[in-house]
Amino acid sequence: MKTIQELNDIRKQMRAELNLDGKTNSNIRVTVGLATCGIAAGAEPVFKAFQKEVKRLGLTNVKIIQSGCLGMCKHEPMVEVTEAGKEKVTYIALAADSAKRIAEEHLAGGKPVMDFVIGNE
């Protein structure tokens, strides 16, 4: 059973890991919208493809996270990339084969793939 002190410790540690504490680390977080709506639109293969690509490229600072609904049904499957000190990048209507390009150019190369971003629909 956790005490309030332990709760606060977990909070502090996780906030550092998620770059919420004002300090920055080099973690890159890739959130894949995996609610029922996303799954129906084919987000599971996208999620697996990202996991595979990150492993292939040996990107240890990248975490692929499943998340809930991002809100915009028509753009599913949606993926968001968050990095400390940079604007969040939202990719839309992804297919599994687009994971390779995003992993290589963005997650490894630091350059968002403009072909898939939300403003380019």
Partner: protein
């Protein structure tokens, strides 16, 4: 060239939204309790258990002005106060996750994106009213939500946020999932509790209200998922914070599932008091293909249609009721000029007739008779007297039905009659469907653009089209089933729908 926007938060879709219930959805990993904790998860529970008395918790919710998000809009704090006032050593907290309105998916998204927030809120509710056991009644059709909630419950138990002596206090609380089989009536609170008890899901007479005599005859607080999702932020940020959002009588935000004839379908959370026009034109990005807005349907089968002249009304509980609709659980379906309002009313009545549990006669027989009137109208067989009789029947059903299902079932008919009566009259008097939807009233006619290519003749599934090559064809309306295939495939726009 302007720079291409890379971020969802900067789109028009997100800019006008204000996220409270959905704050963590799409942000955290719902299967990781630590991520919820990072976003201040379980802090509200810790605060309630160590700093506040049950009465203070109830007072905070009361002061915030929070009202039930399931649609009825009953003040949540008042409901909790009724349950707290009951002297009984067994009380229950229930969550209504039996989201039944066609096209609504707000609760599902919260459960799938942020299940811990529901657990935290229900544990707080248990502390506030003195309950040790909670139940989440959730549809079996939501397997992902059920799975994530179950994982979350297991994690919360492991951390001791559910169980005995939470955070070292005297408060003990346990949570279990109960699966519903998808009957619409089980979203009604008394039917829901009857179903949890293991009986056939049928409503019972109120009063006594659940807060006095609810689940297993014990005082019970039953709230919707979205209502619970508001509880932790209110306790953390204070009653004044919620009061600062919304209109005079409706505080905070509301989540809507935006669908129908709209460019940006999706899940939107707006501050109360936002106008429908903002939701449809700015957040929703308007109506596709340059079509004209006709009506917005809120409240699902219990609600009504709001026409264009009321688009600037600020959305809150009381304004929507005044317009003959209701907030409902949050379905918002946009309709354009191609939607027939009689057909829409028929769709919802077909639904409520099927879903009526049959316990009380006004609902069981009334909805059946109401649907018969609507079918007569869409087939062009009704008289003007039928319209009047139908309207009277609506009032009987509303007044005499036992539960909310029957009491609100006529709303789709009444609101379309109120705002689109001329459309009903066109069906009855002129035997036409202005929107071109009601098949019995349609006819397909070949015009002079026909070059006699015979494509339609070959594709017609019932051989209703005759005509020689290079001669104008003819459609036999006696045989025609009005499937519209001929019109869709004609390359010369030679077929008109009338």
């Amino acid at each position: 060239m302007a720079e291409i926007n890379k971020c969802l938060d900067k789109t028009d879709f997100m800019k006008k939204q204000y996220r409270v219930a959905l704050q963590n959805s799409g942000v955290i990993n719902p299967e990781n309790i630590d991520e919820y904790i990072a976003y201040d998860g379980y802090q509200a529970l810790a605060k309630a258990l160590t700093e506040l008395t049950p009465q203070q918790v109830v007072d905070t919710i009361k002061d915030s002005g929070l009202r039930g998000r399931g649609g009825g809009g009953f003040p949540t704090g008042t409901k909790w106060q009724f349950a707290l006032n009951q002297k009984n050593d067994t009380k229950f907290v229930c969550c209504n996750a039996d989201e039944g309105d066609p096209g609504a998916f707000m609760d599902r998204s919260i459960l799938e994106g942020d299940p811990h927030c529901l657990i935290e809120a229900m544990t707080i509710a248990g502390y506030a009213i003195g309950a040790k056991q909670g139940y989440v009644y959730i549809r079996a059709e939501y397997p992902v939500a059920v799975k994530r909630l179950q994982i979350a419950i297991t994690q919360a138990k492991k951390y001791g946020f559910l169980g005995k002596n939470i955070f070292g206090s005297k408060h003990c609380f346990d949570l279990e999932i109960r699966l519903g089989s998808g009957a619409f009536v089980c979203g009604e609170e008394t039917a829901l509790m009857t179903s949890i008890e293991g009986n056939r899901g049928e409503p019972r007479v109120r009063p006594p209200f659940p807060a006095v005599k609810g689940l297993f005859g014990k005082p019970t607080v039953l709230n919707n998922v979205e209502t619970f999702a508001n509880i932790p932020p209110i306790l953390l940020k204070g009653a004044k914070w919620l009061q600062g959002m919304g209109t005079e009588k409706s505080k905070g935000t509301k989540v809507f599932a935006l669908g129908g004839k709209i460019n940006n379908t999706g899940l939107v959370e707006i501050a109360m008091g936002t106008t429908l026009r903002t939701v449809i034109d700015e957040i929703g990005g308007g109506i596709p293909d340059g079509k004209k807005f006709k009506a917005a349907q809120t409240g699902g089968p219990s609600g009504g249609c709001i026409p264009a002249q009321h688009l600037d009304v600020p959305i809150d509980y009381d304004n929507l009721i005044a317009l003959g609709s209701m907030m409902g659980s949050g379905g918002l379906i946009v309709m354009d000029e191609d939607n027939c309002m009689v057909d829409i009313a028929k769709f919802f009545l077909d639904f409520t007739k099927e879903e009526s549990c049959g316990k009380c006669t006004p609902c069981r027989v009334g909805t059946t008779r109401l649907l018969e009137y609507l079918e007569k109208i869409t087939e062009g067989k009704a008289t003007m007297k039928d319209l009047d009789d139908m309207e009277a029947l609506c009032e009987y059903i509303k007044d005499a039905s036992l539960c909310g299902l029957g009491q609100t079932a006529p709303n789709p008919v009444l609101s379309t009659l109120k705002y689109f009566r001329e459309e009903y009259e066109a069906h009855v008097k002129d035997n036409t469907c202005p929107a071109g939807i009601c098949k019995s009233l349609l006819s397909y006619v070949v015009n002079d653009k026909c070059i006699g290519c015979t494509l339609c003749k070959r594709k017609c599934p019932v051989d209703a089209i005759t005509g020689a090559v290079k001669e104008k064809h003819f459609i036999d309306m006696q045989k025609c089933i009005k499937c519209g295939v001929c019109m869709d495939i004609c390359k010369f726009k030679a077929i008109d729908k009338k």
